[in-house]
Assembly symmetry: C2
Homo-oligomer: 267 residues x 2
Amino acid sequence: MKDQSHSVEEILKKRVSMRQYAERDLSEEDIEWIIEGARRAPTAGGMMLYSIIAVKDPAKKLILSETCDHQPFIAKAPLVMIFVADYQRWFDYFQLSGVEEYCQKTGRKFKEPSEGDLFLACSDALIAAQNSVIAAEARGIASCYIGDIMENYEKHRELLNLPPWAFPIAMLCFGYYPETKRPDPRSRFDPKYFVYNEAYQRLSPDELREMFQEEENSFPKNNPFKAENAAQWIYARKAGSDFAAEMTRSIREALKSWQEKNNYKSE
Amino acid sequence: MKDQSHSVEEILKKRVSMRQYAERDLSEEDIEWIIEGARRAPTAGGMMLYSIIAVKDPAKKLILSETCDHQPFIAKAPLVMIFVADYQRWFDYFQLSGVEEYCQKTGRKFKEPSEGDLFLACSDALIAAQNSVIAAEARGIASCYIGDIMENYEKHRELLNLPPWAFPIAMLCFGYYPETKRPDPRSRFDPKYFVYNEAYQRLSPDELREMFQEEENSFPKNNPFKAENAAQWIYARKAGSDFAAEMTRSIREALKSWQEKNNYKSE
């Protein structure tokens, strides 16, 4: 077991999302440690409503680098892990164990996994993912989240062999930090803009202007989107982008499994 | 700044979800550190698509202890933090900055936050929440997730003054570890049952039986649910419970903001 050379404080303060890694594979011991990080995470009712798909196959990483909003660096990451919100395993166990008959006998409703189960499973998966990020950092392993794994649901379902109640909520690229100097952590908004006491407080126009002042000062005035302020620039690149529209389309498709009734009977 | 006495390894291995805390308030310095933990978490596109509502008011904690599946310990937690998936702030900023007019001028569609934005915001919020848990552990602060904050959406919306595009995805109770001996970490499934190489692998009946053997051995044979095996017992208490049904109902209600079009115009 390697010595932990970094304190939690250091890790939290210095971590940056890295899209470049040292060109060597992760050791098996380190991969097991990343998984152990996930495994020790808090989980709703101890149910561990998630699965991890570890991808090293170059061909598969290449496909993911395309389906996840065309980000070539994904193909170069030594390890890619997909965190899947997973109620399939439990539902299979329920079916195997006569839960349907039990429900009939005791006047209960036998329910397929539904939206509540999905959100709880997504929570489990993301909490585990972040625990694995922290575990990785402690061993000098950098990471980067790819939310775009939520896009192209049909393609990812086929590529990853996902059953109906398994939704890929997050992807993480892992690799050792490169020898080059680690970039400085990116800036964050001041807590006064996102931490509220006792109740949500909608920001006033003045507060919003103040909050986004840095963005307004630094966005590229000459940009291909013809955006005239930072909000327009960010809208064009993020909220209003093709990938955001695809994410919503894809999630609507994925949600169907969790909304329709009795589709398990036709499997 | 206090010295970090625990390594990451120790923290990940020894952390347990605690429902009992030392009977003293958290210091302001420690609360700021928990928030800093969240703030330094990875976030999609640097957008920080979440807010934190810090609740100390005893009356409000008492209400939450009822609305979150009747768990009295919540009222006794020195600090309760609600992690809100939040696109409202960005949407307000977009509206303030003429993004709608910009879209008309440049042939873009001006879109309200939708399902993709919700899932991305939930991811940001949960990743930040888990970072705050790790930050807390490093200072001897225990925590417990309450997924039940996803229930009773209408009540929580009113209690917490939530605007349409702010969904409470997770709640955390925080307090110093009590003087009593810390419980042992709870058991977890073996990685072979939830970590798959290259693609999802649905477990066979034999594998499922093996995976849940410990549950089958330890579930209370004499139980008020008349469950005859662990699957039936867990189904009755979790997946098939009243709180699970309420969670799905509540989420369906909350989802409406993210599905309907143009409701921002009527605000």
